[in-house]
């Protein structure tokens, strides 16, 4: 078992149930508020220029770590790779035990048992992709079985994809039903629904998909698989956060938002935190409701923390590559 360190705080949260039925799916999509692309992008760009105070910056950087899903989703992932990554997840900086651990590790189903064993008792959760990630277009029964299997193997959280083939084809009720079935197969594991915003074609669609996924009982809506060329962007994330905010107003339910793919620099992670703060408010500034799926980001954040502490810029040689 890996050494324990200041890991993420995950208050046990009951997984969410659907708030609508499949027959309402088409209406949910049709009634989703329109989104003006120019206005949305302008707002995201304006928020990206906020600067935060030094003390808050340290707190924000540590929050970024606490909200991180340290991710590896490569065909070449082995047991050894996962063991090393889990060690890093629990204690990111070997020289500084006060740096918190991440929220979760995110990996492929085959490696779940390794991670479960490594992370037992550390407070770092095990998140697995499942359901035919990243395309989500295999046979439905196989996809649902994969979800049930990783839940049984001990995954705390399961990241699945929205069926874009159904969604973009206008088959909203079927897309909704698949999400509800996935919800059920996941049991008590938290369900993150990946919208793959970069494929949806417009912010209107991103908003519609957000509303659909949240109505189906998603605990989190997530921007991207990280496997296509357009991943998390500030405008996509802002659009999803606005949807989550309105969903909360309508149903009193808080759904989390996860940004994933392409978040490599500390500055970006702080920009996303600014978006959360300005759009969803302080209640969402917790790993229970906000996550960043990343891998190389962690070392960049550690370097920034070092700079805030020592006053000089650090270099990659001083941080472990796991």
């Amino acid at each position: 078992m890996v050494g324990v360190s200041q890991a993420a705080e995950l208050s046990p949260r009951q997984p969410l149930e659907p708030v609508a039925t499949a027959s309402e799916a088409a209406r949910i999509v049709a009634r989703a508020t329109a989104v003006d692309a120019v206005g949305l992008e302008g707002r995201a760009a304006a928020l990206a220029t906020r600067s935060i105070k030094r003390d808050s910056k340290v707190w924000a950087l540590e929050l970024a770590i606490r909200c991180m899903d340290l991710t590896t989703l490569e065909g070449s992932d082995t047991t050894g790779k996962i063991v090393a990554m889990c060690a890093k997840a629990v204690r990111p900086d070997p020289l500084r035990p006060e740096v918190p651990g991440v929220a979760a590790v995110c990996l492929y189903p085959q490696l779940v048992p390794v991670a479960v064993e490594q992370l037992a008792g550390t407070g770092v959760a095990v998140a697995s992709v499942a359901g035919g990630f990243p395309s989500g277009l295999g046979p439905l029964d196989a996809r649902l079985r994969e979800i049930a299997d990783v839940a049984a193997a001990g995954a705390d959280e399961i990241d699945i994809v929205l069926n874009r083939s159904l969604f973009l084809g206008g088959r909203y009720a079927e897309a909704f039903e698949e999400l509800v079935a996935a919800r059920e197969a996941a049991g008590s594991a938290h369900l993150k629904v990946i919208l793959e915003a970069g494929e949806l074609g417009s912010y209107d669609r991103v908003r519609q998909a957000s509303m659909l996924a949240m109505a189906a009982g998603a605990d989190f809506i997530k921007t991207s698989t990280g496997k296509i060329s357009v991943n998390a962007t500030l405008p996509n994330a802002l659009c999803m956060m606005e949807a989550a905010r309105d969903f909360h107003r309508q149903t009193d339910r808080r759904v989390g938002v996860k940004v994933a793919g392409g978040v490599r620099r500390s500055k970006q992670s702080i920009q996303y935190l600014v978006l959360v703060h300005e759009t969803l408010g302080p209640d969402w500034m917790t790993p229970d409701l906000f996550r960043i799926g990343a891998s190389s980001l962690l070392n960049d954040v550690l370097m920034q923390l070092e700079k805030e502490d020592t006053g000089h810029y650090s270099g990659p040689d001083y941080f472990t590559v796991d």
Partner: protein, 493 residues
């Protein structure tokens, strides 16, 4: 399954935006500024000087000269003397002078932005991201017209400058208004006398220094600082054209003063724009547009969206979002990069706003203001919403020129158009809807010189700006902005 280890509950997030003040070191202010006449800074014949302050701290920044009628006459003479040579220059050469000014503005952008926020009170992120870049762009755009005038007005006769222009500008966008006036005038071959607003002379005077560096021939641009009397003297002086941006009240006075004189006149006056939100609008972006429409530059904007017309079905949702959004607006030090709403430009303006807001409460409208701490010194007003407003309330009819939004409702397109047009003003309007045909239909029926659809407060040197009805006449920007500075009947006097 992993067991979570007990951790102390997290404290409320200690999230604070950096006080990220732009340093004022970049600005070097003189103790005192003379009038800029004939290419030099000179002492005023009036012998009088007055202080100019920072409205966020009330501290004096410098003293500027107060020009009297004799000073104005001297400036007009300088402009008149410089006119023939300036007009005779090859247009391509004239263009290059104006390009130089544009380039200098870009080079010294930060300095100008800081000075603008210091002297006027607007947030640094506005002066840095909007005012100064647009000012440079205006000079760039019009520089390119100087040697292409025959294409601007084909077959209309040989374009020639009108002669000497007197230009009076307001305090809400000091440098930008100077650019709007000077750029087309110079490109068209005119010489000018510019009178900056009483409370915001400093960026115009810095611009004069840029003109010296650009080697602009002496007398082509002259700057006379002062207050109402200086402006009146300029209106009465023997110039060929007057261009004025300011209140409708003063615009009417100028119209009367120039009656029968043959002077060309353009006026850009007040407004009471309707920002119209339909139920199918992209609501979150509409919120940004409404907020920007009335709180950008503290509402000191002639084209501000000061009346919000909301289609009834979406009223509650929109109001809820607006109130939430108001809580996130940061009012404070204009030089702080995170500030959204800066200082009110002057004590006089603050008193006007307070008076009108009181009238709103007295007349029965419901007021909403977010909690925010305001600094002790300086002139400040909280962003304010009024609901339960009817067309007859003063706050729905009179221009407040402050961060105060009056909210009314409507049911149909016809009702929205009727209410929007029901005002003596006609400067701008906003329309928020996803339906393209409705946008164009509204644009057609709204009696306003500028219609913004699914956006607000967008400006560009290529885009003509100006009002209908009592918001004035004449346009600035674009091809149309050249016309007031040209004559086609054979030449200037």
């Amino acid at each position: 399954m992993t067991e979570a280890i007990e951790r102390p509950a997290s404290a409320a997030p200690p999230w604070e935006y950096a006080s990220a003040p732009e340093s004022t070191d970049i600005v070097r202010l003189d103790h005192r500024y003379g009038l800029f006449i004939g290419g030099e800074f000179v002492e005023p014949k009036s012998g009088r000087w007055f202080p100019t302050i920072s409205p966020s701290t009330e501290e004096t920044l410098a003293e500027v000269a107060e020009a009297d009628a004799a000073d104005v006459a001297r400036a007009v003479d300088a402009a008149r003397d410089a006119a023939p040579a300036w007009r005779a220059l090859a247009p391509a050469e004239r263009a290059k002078y104006v390009f130089r000014i544009a380039r200098q503005l870009q080079e010294r952008a930060r300095e100008f932005a800081v000075l603008e926020s210091l002297n006027g009170g607007k947030p640094i992120k506005e002066s840095r991201d909007v005012d100064i870049p647009l000012a440079a762009a205006h000079f760039f755009y019009y520089a390119g017209w100087a040697d292409k005038l025959e294409y601007a007005f084909p077959a209309r006769g040989t374009p020639a400058p009108v002669g000497v222009a007197g230009q009076i500008i307001p305090w809400n966008f000091p440098l930008l208004m100077a650019a709007w006036k000077l750029a087309p005038a110079l490109a068209a071959g005119n010489t000018t006398v510019l009178k900056p607003a009483e409370t915001t002379p400093l960026t115009a005077l810095l611009l004069a220094q840029v003109m010296q560096e650009a080697e602009l021939p002496p007398g082509v641009v002259n700057i006379v600082t002062g207050a109402g009397e200086t402006g009146a003297a300029l209106v009465d002086a023997p110039v060929d054209k007057i261009a004025f941006t300011g209140s409708t009240e003063v615009g009417k006075i100028i119209r009367r003063s120039t009656a029968g004189t043959g002077k060309r006149l353009t006026l850009e006056l007040g407004g009471k724009a309707a920002n119209i939100v339909f139920e199918d609008a992209p609501l979150d972006q509409a919120v940004e547009g409404v907020i920007n429409g009335i709180f950008f530059n503290q509402g000191h904007v002639c084209c501000a969206g000061s009346r919000l017309l909301v289609q009834e079905p979406v009223f509650d949702a929109l109001l809820g979002k607006l109130k939430d959004r108001l809580q996130t607006l940061r009012v404070g030090d204009p030089l702080d990069k995170n500030t959204d709403v800066g200082a009110i430009n002057s004590r006089a303006q603050l008193e006007k706003i307070e008076e009108l807001v009181e009238s709103g409460v007295e007349e029965g409208a419901e007021i909403y203001q977010p909690e925010c701490l305001l600094p002790e010194r300086g002139f400040w007003f909280r962003p304010t919403l009024f609901t339960g407003v009817s067309q007859s309330h003063r706050i729905a009819r009179e221009e407040i020129f402050g961060p105060v939004l009056s909210i009314l409702t409507f049911r149909t397109v016809d009702e929205a158009v009727e209410k929007a047009n029901n005002t003596p003003y006609g400067l701008s309007a906003g329309v928020w809807t996803e339906k393209g045909s409705r946008i164009l239909h509204m644009a057609q029926r709204l009696r306003a010189g500028v219609v913004w659809a699914n956006t607000f407060n967008r400006f560009d040197p290529t885009s003509p700006f100006g009002g209908y009805k009592e918001s004035g006449f004449g346009r600035e920007g674009g091809l149309h902005g050249l016309e007031p500075y040209l004559t086609f009947d054979g030449g200037a006097r």
